[in-house]
Subunit: 365 residues, 4 copies
């Protein structure tokens, strides 16, 4: 498979450039009978949408998704679902200067080398614009998981530059423009971002996603372990440079007696593993963290080269997020939902004969 | 695809349990004409092999690989390559006690739930024993990459518990049982491990892998980015809980002006990105780090449940590595080689018409 | 993968129902740099289009394809290509009667059983309407194959009911509404179809496709042989019930001394094999034939059951082709082009090191 | 995927050459809990085995299959199943003459061109020897389908050269060396083959396979239709040049009123479609026919070229079947079982929520 398809049984294939006519995608393998409409998908699209606060790009896109097929009389039919979002605010002329120059930290150079030419308008295919379709597709998965299994996928901003969230209250997350789950940090975030904007610079972030009410048994050893596929999904989000499952890099300094999650008839006694053992979900909450680099589109001048390898300087004007990590929250949720969905279908395809609805022990003690 | 295959064009499919008759695998898609023999693969198998030092499991396996097909008169023929390693030191009776009890931190519970039954001997399929085949298959990829492109894949132990390596001298790595690249840390490691063994506990580790002489252009956006596939590959190694590309989690606190790698006619001026931009290799060194949890097989007693959900206690006797991270070094190298190889084939399949041998700028300034 | 994707490296994924808003698709893996525009694709779409003659359905669709992405300044960029065709002439009310009744010979019953519900309007996803996207995608492949390799893919009607074409003159094929390559049979076809329309019945057909200027070496043994993939592609076209490569079923009565194609320094001395040996292209013309059943949508009443399993009778009014085989010609060409294209990319991915531009002997003596 | 894997959820990957050390394969995705042993697989291996009658090659292979993994205490564990068959009767020297000459009708030429070198011993990978592993893997699928669903897959020889079987009595098929289901034709077959052997020539054949007790709903539109995948599977068997579903090429001359299978509350009233509508199984018997060419390994001299493109003559001595169609019967059964199995898993993965055990009407009236 070329690289624009995600998943094996529940697949999402996408197309579209930042400044093309439209972006779109196809969901294949969706179970039939699911009640779904554009408005279900619009919720997360609006969360991801640019232009919603002064901390994200000023580009305005309605990001109105159209379902073109696969849904009949309000229900999925089991056939492929076509999704389309028209690009409305394109302003290609903003980008004409960078036609022959490679912006440092961007994919301009690597696309040019790989393909011999590139759509230089706004990063073309490498722009995070395409993630809108992932969010729409993830919305279908989310709805199915919620309705059939009670599974919820909840993302949040866990760190922005030096500011670490200390309390996670999911009821706070969607009440602020930062997807911050810690009410005590809102003011600090606001101030930090205001200063940052003034400086014309950008900052990295850490995003976390949790799935609750997970069934036991999802994940296909050896290579398609649930953790491996989550890592694949998350590292495939623009700007992500690190992925952790459960305790992540903290395990380097942990002892075995400290790390392993003990079990009791009432359930697991801790969740350092992040809900996965041997690549298979344990019924505990799935926990994933990821690191997102600061956007490279800043107004601080930077040394680079042009298409002929000659020295050049670049200042990215355009309209860009000073912290791309913020808007990554709904994207990360969507990707986790897609992974769970795909593995659910794969698991019941192979193991339908032995799947038990009640596990030996509950997920959490 | 079920989960035992890795790759798209250059694929590796594996089978085998810890205490079965044999483990094995099939490489498919290997370019023809490569000179290869069992002895080429044995080098890394011996590096991974248990029983080579007092810091790894005392289980002794010759791990002698046989090439059963796909090689004729010393050269690959382009057809599938069958690999086989017989299990010689099985001692199944060591494990009879854990038949009905789930070892905490292990995959016993999740395999039982997923499949309704499990091969409980030494962890069965979930044992790291199967990684021997990955190492053998990776050896084929390594040889091709080295001979055709000069690419080298070099792994090392970058941290063990509290001990962080400070200097990386690849000429040191393979001269000691820790794959430690820092000669100054060998004594500390030795002492730490001696104490650890006494305590019956285990410890986590961090492993790093670097690929040098990388071509520009490998990686298939959007979902099969090179970094996403590396994350998939590394998180799929037993015990890995975190993966970083380049600066990894450090980017959370970096500013854009600090993170982006500037470019000059002489090459990139830094490599915080770890050799990947927009999911495509930039020609710089590929840099990946991973966190490995401490093995859960320790002689410290632990609370658990049995197959009926009743309370139980478990002490893992057996023969186990107090730090599984050490032996993961050749495994991580193999996985990186497999990813590069697969992407090389995919890249030239699609882009053969435009591939240029000399990039616009060199990988490193 | 769910079932709406074709190919491995050069893939086409489609969506859309007969009476939905639009049909569409995504081409992934297209080599960059190919000059392509909507008008290139429109040629074959117009050949497939309904309503072009009195022998095909009276439904009128403009079938105007839009390229939404993947092409920049007139050239493919190597990224995924979004295709969209709006449905303009839907008339859903034509089909309201068959909502609860299964038309014999159609997929109504099997879709209902498989998915528990179905889009009953005009056959929904099972309608041949979706093949328009295959034709559009095939147009991209055709152009690449022609420009880079001189490969041409030529289909024609080889039999319609009792009328067998005797001469194949490719210059005749596209000058008549039957895709008939034999000028001497045009009158007989015309008369036969006129009589058939009067009777309200339909008729089967045989379609053939040939690819010329084939390179040697395409096809991936064991399971992805070129002939196996062609059979997959052709049998996946609506109404196809049989596929032959080269001499096809005639080989049952052939002797070995008669069947094998002898070779001379000037090339192969015959082409009974249809251009494939051991699943790999030999450089000779690829030759495929297929049998298409008569459409089941006829005005002759037929016994059937309703959604509750009760006896019912059905007469298909609607607007239907009395011989679906005719319009299958451009579809079969498209599918052959997609197979060749995918295998070309796979072949050069694995075997780039050894591909020779001049084969040992020419394709044809 | 490179070409040595078949299937998506239930996959089989194979390796091995005619005269290598061993052939083998890996089954991935097998449901857990299936009772299976080597002796279950040996039944069909013995049916396929060379040297069982005077009408097949005199090469003697025990074809004793070993299960190396994936089965524990007599049951499948859900993990990958390793299969191995050692080559015992290799006699490489028989083949030394053809090292530099291409046998007409064989894959010698195309392998040499594709890969730049080839294992010339007995056809190497292109030899039908590898089908033994398909038969072993098919045996696992057959057992599961039989035990869980009552599905039986029954193949037979339906024509050999000019001799057409008229009655199909499955109880006769396995009582004779021809897999002939018509007791009245045994004498004619015997005489025909005796004459053929004398002449040193070979003959084509037609093989048919039927699956009974099929569930409704298997097959994934659009591209992975059940018929398309069966065509893929069957055309991928060595020497197959044509595949038909149900009435196959006879549909070319059928009218719609004659072809469509009418339905009644008691079931379908005929089965011209061969058990598939719209690419999805209808619950009727699956019916597939295939044409196999005469083997090209005959003692009649034939004109060819050598590796330098110079004129040469070849006589194949060796030990070869005068009719390869005969031994294809168990191979075709195996491939059908693999296709059904894969589609069963895919179907229940996606559609588990709506699968009904009792269809609206029975498969057969």
């Amino acid at each position: 498979m070329a690289g624009n398809t995600f998943g094996k049984l529940f697949t999402v294939t996408t197309f579209g450039e930042s400044h093309g006519i439209a972006i779109g995608g196809i969901i294949d393998g969706c179970p039939p009978g699911l009640a779904i409409s554009e408005s279900d998908l619009q919720i997360d699209l609006d969360r991801r949408k640019p232009g919603t606060s002064r901390y994200t790009t000023a580009r305005r896109e309605e990001d109105e998704v159209q379902i073109l097929s696969g849904v009949f009389e309000g229900r999925t039919t089991g056939t492929s679902i076509g999704l389309l979002i028209k690009n409305t605010d394109q302003r290609s002329n903003d980008y004409s200067k960078i036609k022959d120059t490679f912006r440092p930290g961007h994919a301009d150079y690597t696309y040019q080398q790989k393909y011999g030419l590139r759509d230089y308008r706004g990063g073309g295919r490498s722009s995070a614009r395409e993630t809108a379709i992932r969010v729409a597709a993830g919305g279908v998965a989310k709805k199915y998981l919620k309705e059939q299994f009670g599974i919820e996928v909840l993302g949040y901003l866990s760190q922005l530059g030096p500011i670490k969230m200390e309390n996670v209250d999911h009821s706070i997350t969607n009440t602020n423009a930062f997807f911050c789950p810690d009410a005590n940090k809102l003011e600090a975030l606001d101030e930090y971002m205001r200063e940052l904007k003034k400086s014309g610079d950008s900052i990295g972030a850490k995003v976390s996603v949790v799935a609750t009410n997970m069934p036991v048994g999802l994940g296909e050893p050896i290579f398609d372990r649930l953790d491996a596929e989550l890592a694949h999904a998350m590292m495939g989000i623009n700007a992500v440079k690190g992925v952790e499952i459960g305790d992540g890099f903290a395990v380097v300094e942990q002892k075995g007696s400290e790390h392993r999650d003990l079990m009791s008839p009432q359930g697991f006694k801790s969740n350092r593993a992040g809900g996965i053992l041997g690549g298979i979900s344990s019924g505990q909450d799935l926990i994933v963290h990821m690191a997102l680099k600061p956007t490279s589109s800043i107004s601080v001048p930077g040394e680079t080269v042009d298409i002929n390898g000659q020295s050049a300087e670049v200042i990215t004007k355009g309209r860009h997020d000073p912290c791309v990590g913020i808007r990554a929250v709904p994207i990360a949720e969507a990707m986790m939902a897609l992974v769970i969905m795909d593995h659910l279908l794969r698991h019941r395809g192979q193991n339908a004969d032995v799947i038990k609805t009640t596990p030996i022990i509950p997920g959490q003690a």
